[in-house]
Every structure is written in C-alpha cells, then in structure tokens.
Point group: C2
Chain length 196, copies 2
C-alpha cells in the first residue's frame, strides 16, 4: 500500500492544493507541502503533454532546492472541453461561463503526475470522462456564490457542492479531484522497484 512504500521516505508534495493535501491525509501519507510556483506554459494545446510538462516542471523546481533523498511528488490537473483547456476561472463571470459550457455536456479531466527521487524523474497521466447534468441558471448563480468554483480547474469541485451536478464519470474519480491515486501507486511501485 502507498503509505507503506513511503513510510521511510522524506516526502514533499509540490503543490499548494488543499484537495491534494486531503488525498494524502486519507492515504495516511505524511508529506511536507511545498508549492512549486512554476510559470505555466500556455503554448501546449495538447492536454496530455501540457499536464505532463507542468507536473515534471513542478518536481524539477523543488528538486533544485532540496537534497536528492527527498521524494518529490507533483501533479497538474486541467479540464478539457471541446478542444478548449479550462484552467481556474479568472473571476465569477468566467466561472459562470465555464459552468454554462459544461452543463448538459461531457468533458475530460487530465492530470499529470511526476515523482523525483534520487536521480530519477518518472511521470504518467490519467484521463477521466465526466458527464454533467443540465445545470439551471439559478443553480449556476448559486453555485458561483458558494465560492467553490473559484480555485478549481473548470470551475467546479467534484468533492463538494459540485457533486450534485455530475451525472456520471468514466475513469478515475480521484483524478477529477486532482490526484489519480491508483495510477500514482503503480508509478511509485515501479519506480522504487527500479531503484532497488
């Protein structure tokens, strides 16, 4: 299990996200949280390449600041809707605009994950399809008022009030929350095996 693989390691979570912190808590993984303030590269139009690039940049950024016996974990999540990449909304108006786009429609959530440990950097990504019910304009306005959409890619949180708008998903739930747990487990296991 993940917490056993990590129990003797000094772990850094290269992210400021409270959702990722919560996921680490539910897995009983102790990690130092160090946000990696990387410059986000807008030139990638391919969602898979974008999240992998950002996740790797986050761990590289922290790698340059700490000893290489720290195991550093980075992740990046975006919402991809009809060839548009939706990141965190700028303001309430953009949040309402994003939610109007997502209503009665489906989109994909991509997360890239990267692990840096000793001289290795490994990475992988996950993709989940999310289907929204129709969200009436009153619900969009109320939901924006809760503030929940403001710090989240695509302007919704699957683990909060946003849950009531989601008809179904196809793929990994935790990927939509911002950290694909079972994909991470496999990546970590293979990396540590290669390290032995």
């Amino acid at each position: 299990m993940i917490h056993n693989l990590l129990k003797d390691k000094k772990v850094i979570l290269a992210s400021a996200s409270p959702r990722r912190k919560k996921i680490f808590e539910l897995l009983s993984v102790k990690a130092l949280q160090m946000p990696a303030n990387i410059k986000e590269d807008q030139s990638y139009k391919n969602p898979r390449k974008l999240v992998l690039h950002h996740a790797k940049n986050k761990v590289r950024h922290i790698r340059s600041q700490v000893d290489n016996d720290y195991l550093i974990i980075g992740a990046d999540t975006i919402v991809y809707h009809k060839k548009d990449i939706l990141e965190k909304p700028r303001d309430r108006y953009q949040a309402a605009e994003y939610l109007t786009l997502l209503s009665s429609s489906h989109h994909y959530v991509y997360s890239g994950i990267a692990i840096a440990y000793k001289n290795q950097i490994v990475s992988d990504y996950e993709k989940t399809k999310v289907f929204f019910n129709e969200i009436c304009p009153e619900d969009i306005a109320e939901y924006v008022n809760t503030q929940e959409p403001m710090d989240k890619a695509g302007a919704y949180g699957i683990q909060g009030f946003g849950s009531q708008f989601i008809q179904k998903i196809s793929g990994c739930y935790f990927n939509v929350m911002g950290f694909p747990i079972s994909k991470f487990y496999i990546l970590l296991l293979n990396m540590l095996k290669a390290d032995q």
Copy 2:
C-alpha cells in the same frame, strides 16, 4: 441546489452510516440521523429490487415514529459481483475472501434511495461499475489490518485506503460511497414539484 431545497424542511437521514453523514455535511444539509434497524430481507436475489426494498423499508420504519412533516431519506448499498450480493463482511476472513474475489475484476455497486414526505414515498436506484486492479495478497492482508473493510459492503471503502486499488469506475462515484447524490437531487426536485 440540494441544500436550498431542504433548508426549510425538518430532515431525517434514516441511516447510521458515517459516509452518508459525511456526504450530507459536504452538501451543507442539516439532518437528524436516525438509524432504521430494519430486518434485512435475504429473499431478494435481484440487486435493484433488494436495494429499493431496503431503502423504502428504512423510510417507512422512521415514518411510523415521527410526524409526517419530517422529510425522511433512506438509502441502501450493496456490491454485486458475478451474481453474488456482497454485503458487510462477517469477519476478517470474509473481508479477505471478498477482496480476493474483487481483485483484477469488475463489479457493480447498487444503491437504492427513498424519500418520505407528507403522504408521499418516492424511490429510485443507481448502478455504478467498478474496476479493481490486481491486489497482491500482502496488500489484502494489510488492508484488512487497517479495519477499513469491516463495516462496508463488499469489504472496501472507495473514499479511504481502498482508493488505491480502484483502476476506474463507470457511473456515479458517490453511489459507491453509499449515496448517489445527483440521482437524489433529481428525485427530490421532482417530488417537491409534485407536492406544490
């Protein structure tokens, strides 16, 4: 949104489940929790009929004890694997046996939900397909040791350590956790419209 539909109602959650309580909290729904100790009927072999029967029995059980201006919500969740209904494991050995069955396989989670309000009782169900990765025997033993499997249908919790074994799902995540939120929203909305 759900908490607005319920804010002027006296709500009872007819369940002892801490997961359902947590879901109500994340939706900001205030409810009195009253476990309905119904006799579980083992004669149903059809998972859909079984969960609907149990959910309705739970709200009927509470209905008989309180005034009819209380809005009572009941739910029942089971795991269905190759025509076998897996409920909560009896003991550690049965938990390990269930997890061995679920490893490298898929199963279905069914939840029935029922709402009793004034003279109405309405109900519906949700079904989610869950795919497990291979879980090695060491992980099964360790997971059983965490105690997490013991009070859960199918011997796993998707929202805890169990998350790392789940490759993907197809359907509603909260259904697997024990309460299908978006299906409940639609059921509640239609019931209250009919009541007006």
